[in-house]
Symmetry: C2
Subunit: 347 residues, 2 copies
DNA sequence: TTGTATGCGTTATCAT
DNA sequence: ATGATAACGCATACAA
């Protein structure tokens, strides 16, 4: 038999029992005082005082594991994004954290680097921990896989992007096909470009095909033939932009404008152009996507199709909290957050 | 009385009892099979099969809250940083996550924005959750406050920076006073500058005074008088750099070189200089601190005193895991990670 | 080799 | 108004 004498606490952990002992009440009473007794209105303000004082003196903290076991609530929210080093996600993560924190939720973060493997691993973690809510940017997860998580844990889920569809998963997204179309259309109709490059991402990434379609639509509408040499695909990094622009500018007839699928690509592309002695936008115009803070740190300032991550994050957090708190229990909601073209100096 | 019939599970949650039932063994046996029975070597490979199959078919996931309550281990690691949008922390956070993940630890993140309030709040969260380990970048927390967390929860803690000292908290840090001295010394001795500006942070931030001292030491050693107009203080943002540089360049005798306490400040400073028609480094040289990825995205490429976040994160994660796993139980360890000057084009 | 029983710290349902 | 007491799901000492 171990040393299971009641009053003995070998480590420095203070439990409700200790508080109860010190306050001269039962442990159940302590619980009621601390939780504000939802049922009856009755807590003798005398014992209340004594309990609070004992809590104070002992420096009691509730044990969340025990509470979770009892209540099935973790007060934990899990966020799954591709890559914390992509500035686009910073304000998203920060905004979410700031919003849920006032309701005492802690935040877990997982990066997937767009790997299916890691997205699955995230689901497993969510199930083990029975997280209260999930905000994710799924790229490869299927509707079935997400459905499994919901069915098994009852977790509320909201997602950024229109990549999946599930009756109980609210979506916040930008119409990036339309936005791409508008950006390219502007390059043609407003800026008079005819030779327009496109640096995108492969079809295996959800945003890939949509943005490509937007590009193709704008060109086709203007009667410009699609030139395979003007369409390249990589990942969401500045390196992709750098190399792609190098290739473009080595062409016999280089594009006079380049639409980049995100700002990091655009920043890399501008760097490449400058390193090859070209002026932006005179020799080659560059337009990005996202409007990350770095857009105004580089010269020329980046013209870009802005997304509004703070607004998106606000919608995500709010929708999630509504579901967690049971204020909304209906079917899938879709929140579209429009993109807006921000004219600066690179195009 | 609620419906507490044993076999009934109203929601989709699968417990060990269900697995045991299906496998025709006791719940304790399931636990032993799943955990590899540390004590004896004995698990009948027959029952083992049956258990594993039941686990598979039912899609059982262990309930971490219950396990935590029993074992006092959360498999959670908490990271406290100032601001997730500071690129310096990206590789730190990512590296830590990647390392601890292979040992099945999840990661919680909190941003403090250098606010004392938020640092305290973080401590409270750590205590409630009884996190297994903590990696933090404390700015305002006192040794006593950290000691309390350790005493009460037994949590292992490692910290980035030499801002605190606790016998059980391992430290990973750069000697930034020395690094600042070296950077400024290089501007004087190697580059021949005499008028050197310094954009720092207030003394209330731990790195503030140290870096200032490094600057002062280099100047004093070279027999250059300290000029209060050349020493300004703000926060760690590009805006601070922008405004400070504007002020410098409006002086009757502007500095010919400016040492910035981090790269974001430096990037802002360069932008201001360029916007005022000055050339960098010809008219004014700029040197930063950290070596964030953006350093090579801007023109001119930023000359900077590089820290090595990946190396630091590796040390932090390794030291923490050693403490969590009890492989190291001794007193405070100090890991200094040297800074290195990276010459590029801005100075 | 496996089953039984107990307790981890809470919350919530009984009584009193 | 408050004190007992029973789970929550799991790990483990002990018995068999």
């Amino acid at each position: 038999m171990k040393a299971h004498k009641k009053g003995v606490k070998p480590n420095g952990v203070v439990t409700m029992r200790d508080v109860a002992l010190k306050a001269g009440v039962s442990q159940g009473t302590v619980s009621r005082v601390l939780n504000g007794t939802p049922t009856s209105i009755s807590i003798s303000s005398d014992t209340q005082q004594r309990v609070m004082q004992a809590v104070e003196e002992l420096g009691y903290y509730p044990n969340l594991a025990a509470r979770t076991l009892r209540t099935q609530r973790t007060h934990l929210i899990a966020i799954m994004i591709a890559d914390i080093s992509n500035p686009f996600y910073h304000s998203i993560v920060r905004t979410i954290q700031d919003i849920v924190r006032v309701k005492d939720y802690d935040v877990m973060i997982a990066n997937t680097d767009h790997h299916y493997e890691d997205e699955k691993r995230f689901c497993a973690a969510v199930m083990r921990r029975a997280v209260d809510g999930v905000i994710m940017v799924p790229f490869h997860l299927s509707t079935e896989e997400i459905d499994q998580v919901i069915k098994r844990t009852g977790t509320s889920i909201v997602a950024l992007g229109k990549h999946i569809t599930h009756p109980e998963v609210d979506l916040v997204y930008a119409d990036d096909q339309l936005a791409t179309y508008q950006g390219v259309h502007w390059l043609i109709a407003d800026q008079g470009h005819q030779h327009i490059g496109f640096i995108g991402v492969p079809d295996s990434f959800p945003p890939g095909p949509r943005r490509l379609h937007g590009y193709e639509a704008a060109l086709t509408e203007a009667g410009i033939a699609l030139n395979p040499e003007y369409m390249v695909f990589g990942d969401f990094t500045a390196e992709t932009g750098y190399q792609s622009m190098q290739n473009f500018l080595s062409l016999p007839t280089p594009p006079t404008a380049v639409f980049c699928c995100n700002d990091r690509i655009a920043i890399g592309a501008i760097a490449a152009a400058q390193d090859m002695g070209r002026r932006v936008p005179t020799d080659v115009a560059v337009i990005g996507f996202d409007n990350i803070p770095e857009a105004t740190l580089i010269r020329p300032h980046l013209t870009t199709m802005a997304q509004h991550p703070v607004e998106m994050a606000r919608q995500l957090a709010q929708a999630l909290l509504e579901r967690i708190e049971g204020k909304y229990t209906g079917t899938q909601r879709m929140f579209e957050v429009p993109c807006t073209l921000i004219r600066r100096d690179s195009a």
